[in-house]
Symmetry: C2
């Protein structure tokens, strides 16, 4: 910048004003400065700006588990939303661990992020950390900023299956301690009136005890009359689907299978998977917007603007706007349908 200034014989203040378009510089000078800047390949120093303004224009994204198959959707949506708002995204993986999550948050803060989007490890409360935070979680979790309406999503799939005539369900969860999964299952159950039978299994313990690749014992369930299997994730639905198919059970003619999240493989398998889609772009926009609002706001805030928190008692800065609930969309695809072969023997003698 000083190079541009001296090359043109103007002050760096003028260069700054010209380049930032504050409008206090004559049009022709602006033009000249722009040209020179291009010519010199000038790239403003984010460090200089950050130091002066106290804002880095970078946001941190803390994820419970980057290897989660939903992560691509999340990261992509957050990156796009942040980018539109003029922010960059610094990622941190809390690897499902609460202490790692805390460390990740500290590291991000040390790197000078202006705010944080946290997708918390189940049931984590984030205390005051002296910087704006948007939590993305379930509506049933207090203190969150925005989330999909997982309960409604569960209700939608279940109602769809009930309307198709199904009366005997198997609900498949993974982690019984997950708020999201409990909401989804709760929503499903809410769509069942009397006359509907259902049972719920949670995979986590099952798999830990019997090994990752164990059979889920679905054949027995089907023999006992289950005609619809609803999972809390497409990943589990896929597991169910392929296990049924391997056993020669027809989906959806004999059994309907549904999932959640519209993962990348869901439209691509045969039969394609009926699932519930969340509008991540919207969730991300809301989260980022809440964060940005808070950040802008604290700029004009007159008090306590010393970059350090005062004696460990940081001002409450969690985003306080009313939490937003984003509706979920049912995607009806081939894996769910009316029962076509209800009364024929299910297996031709041999089991798996």
């Amino acid at each position: 910048m000083s190079k541009i200034a001296s090359a043109l014989g103007v002050s760096s203040a003028t260069v700054s004003n010209a380049l930032s378009g504050k409008g206090r510089v004559s049009a022709e000078l602006v033009e000249k400065i722009r040209k020179k800047a291009d010519e010199l390949g000038y790239v403003p120093s984010s460090a200089g700006r950050a130091l002066r303004t106290g804002r880095s224009n970078v946001l941190g994204l803390v994820l419970p588990d980057i290897s989660n198959p939903l992560f691509p959707q999340i990261a992509q949506a957050m990156e796009a939303a942040a980018s539109n708002a003029g922010y960059g995204i610094l990622i941190a993986d809390s690897r499902g661990d609460v202490t790692t999550q805390t460390q990740a948050i500290s590291r991000l803060i040390e790197r000078g992020v202006d705010g944080l989007v946290v997708i918390p490890r189940r049931g984590t409360r984030i205390g005051d950390i002296g910087c704006p935070v948007a939590m993305v979680d379930t509506p049933s979790t207090p203190g969150n900023t925005v989330s999909a309406d997982h309960w409604e999503g569960g209700a939608k799939v279940a109602r769809h299956l009930v309307d198709l005539g199904h009366k005997n369900f198997l609900l498949v969860g993974y982690d019984p301690a997950s708020n999201v999964q409990n909401d989804r299952i709760g929503g499903m159950k809410s769509a069942f009136d009397r006359g509907i039978k259902y049972d719920t299994i949670w995979l986590e313990t099952l798999l830990r005890e019997r090994g990752e690749q164990t059979s889920l014992g679905l054949i027995d369930r089907v023999r006992d009359g289950v005609t619809a299997i609803s999972a809390v994730s497409d990943l589990h639905a896929l597991r169910v689907l392929t296990e049924l198919q391997t056993a020669g059970i027809k989906v959806p003619q004999q059994v309907s299978v549904t999932g959640f999240d519209d993962l990348i493989f869901s439209p691509v398998v045969t039969p394609s998977l009926t699932t519930v889609h969340m509008d991540m772009a919207r969730i991300a926009e809301l989260a980022i917007a809440a964060l940005v609002r808070e950040i802008e706001h604290s700029k004009s805030e007159p008090n306590a603007n010393t970059s350090q928190k005062q004696n460990g008692k940081a001002a409450k800065q969690t985003v306080t706007a009313e939490p937003s609930k984003v509706s979920m969309e049912l995607m009806v695809r081939a894996s769910s349908g009316p029962i076509i072969l209800p009364d024929t023997p299910i297996l031709n003698g041999k089991t798996l």
Copy 2:
């Protein structure tokens, strides 16, 4: 920092030296300063440090497509490797587009990254951009820094199938312009000696013409004698697997199916998918290490250290160390095996 200094009646230089452990401060003073820093909840200003040192300790990660199912593995590995080396990761999605990729890179540079890991859009050459770059691609691409040996991976699966007695293959690619996919397919073919029949299909055009959810016409292939189908990604292998299963074809008894990348669902479907796994952690370590080496190096570099590139002619800074090839590991699982029912009619009359 100045707060700590004045609270203790020492200079900020001493605080700096004490906190950074440079060892020019007496042990007791260091102790006192540390304590005071904790007490005040001191968080060093990354902006101040960056401005002074000229390093942000942040690396940019440019991905062709965040929604790629392999992305979680990549991002997780890069984040971990960077974190271990003391760097943060700023992400940017080039959305498969070359211009977006260029913009993404500029944005990252404007944010002051010290270096870039680029997983290029197929066939992109990144020119001199005035900052260290590590490219992660195929060994067959010139100028890349590190990559998995996709060719070797292809050879490994194919050899595995040949050893199992298969003699008639269908190879499934997606994008015929992808270097990675061509390497994988090339490797497969290299394992076929005379006596092996094979055909290759590329899904991209097929799907564009006939719609995303079209049948791949696998039944005809199998009827014509194909007993092994090898895809360049688990995603396509999954598509193949479920299409076969829906048609009543047994995997692996009648047809073996293999994929690539060991995606999250691969061990979980029935039958679990034989695939080729790449050691992302190692790839990430190598890429980050190359980058860090280059960054550290350019620190001591005496010449041209003016943060701006001189008249558009930036010094060549692409990481030049010999490109590393990381070996790929074959994961033999249930979806591949010897042919058990070679001569029985494949379909019981009805097709799909």
